[in-house]
Amino acid sequence: IPVPGLPSLAGISRVPGDHSPSLCILADSREISSGPQVISCLRAVHGLRVQVCSLGTSDYIVSNRLAVDRVFQSELQSPGNRNKLSQRLQRLQGVFERICVVVETDRVRPGVTSRSSQRTQYYDGVLAALVQAGIRILFSSCQEQTAALLKELALLEHRKDAAIQVPTEPEGHRRDLLSFYLSIPNLSYGAALNLCHSFGSITAVANSSGAALAAGARLSRPQAEQLHRFLCHDFDPQLLPQPLPAKDK
């Protein structure tokens, strides 16, 4: 149950079992060019720790289970983007328990009068489909607001004890381990970090039960079972597609 009226970051340290001084958000490296204001605002205004890494899947990872994608309103309005968007969000749903889309108003260049954008049936249809799919939608009018929303989401997830609590920059041997874990399908960057941190070696991970994996990697049970199956999967070279790897449509 969320506790209303816990607005400041100062309130965080009062939560028992907390070791990190500030909230952490993982940002995809592409966001450096497409959302520089978001990242600098998160750091400078809100005092969050932002770790830029190559996430690939989503724009931001806010907690162990929540991924946030930033889309422009124009992307939702043009039918040409439909396939790209739905593929992206479907993939995210395979990896994360919760997904949030921040719909950001497109920037209008000064001096250019904005086209009177008629709200289309198509746009309403997309919103309805997102709602029906259980994807959370937030609306933002600029990058600064998006940053504020990300902070709110991170705070909320922290209160629900799902915040990212592990060091986000593994060193030395751990970096190799991380890249190994990242190659496992449907495993999020956050879960891979948790695996690095909670288990001493791959052998320890491979010999763990589904329940132990769920606890150690902070994964949901079905996801942990999926990981468990993957590690125990009996390799059959006959099933290897030739030529490698044929993407299904």
Partner: protein, 204 residues
């Protein structure tokens, strides 16, 4: 608080009596089958047995906090999925962030902004269409695809230092799964790959 079991016939929308004759009702009529009912309480429209809509007008936003009490009462008193549609105009824009924080982040409901009642009716029509569509047609619902895991397993093994494609295939043929590969002693690894690489794999 009435937010109880309302049975909505397929393809129908049940509207609160207070919307009879309004612009939004007029625009809905003809597109969806609209039935008016008294005593819906806090709810403005029922889309299905499980989903309903609460409308917040520009005037509600400007008038103060009454609409917040209404939302909280709805949230506490009902197990229905509530979609809140809010009129976001030039005047009410300043309140939007606060409303969004309350509705989406604190109450965990859905919030969709529209510019006027006309847009609201368009949106409701699309929501009804989406509700009555078969689940498989939604482009954003994840479907599990169970392709063979072999390529992925091979990719993962390739991330072990010192292991390329040839060695990865040999290792997997010998040991079968990543789990058994992990538990293999150095001596057995040496049967497949050279001493140095076997040691490398073992330490990894």
């Amino acid at each position: 608080v009435t937010a109880g079991s309302i049975v909505v016939p397929y393809g129908h929308v049940i509207g609160n009596e207070k919307w009879r004759g309004s612009e939004i009702a007029q625009r809905l009529q003809g597109k969806v089958r609209l039935i008016f009912e008294d005593g819906l309480g806090l709810v403005d429209f029922h889309l299905s047995n499980r989903t309903c809509i609460l409308l917040i007008s520009e005037a509600d936003l400007v008038a103060g906090d009454e609409f917040k009490r209404r939302l909280v009462r709805f949230r506490n008193g009902s197990s229905l999925r509530g979609i809140v549609i809010v009129e976001k105009t030039q005047i009410s824009d300043q309140y939007y962030l606060g409303v969004q924080k309350l509705v989406v982040l604190e109450l965990g409901m859905v919030l969709l902004p529209v510019a006027n009642q006309g847009e609201a009716s368009q949106l409701i029509i699309q929501l009804v269409r989406e509700q009555s569509r078969a689940g498989g047609a939604n482009p954003f619902v994840h479907r599990q695809r169970a392709g063979p895991a072999e390529p992925a397993v091979l990719q993962a093994v390739l991330h072990i230092p010192g292991v390329g494609r040839t060695k990865a295939l040999l290792l997997l043929q010998r040991f079968g799964s990543i789990r058994r590969l992990c538990n293999a002693p150095v001596s057995e690894l040496e049967h497949v790959v050279g001493q140095t690489v076997a040691q490398q794999i073992y330490t990894f």
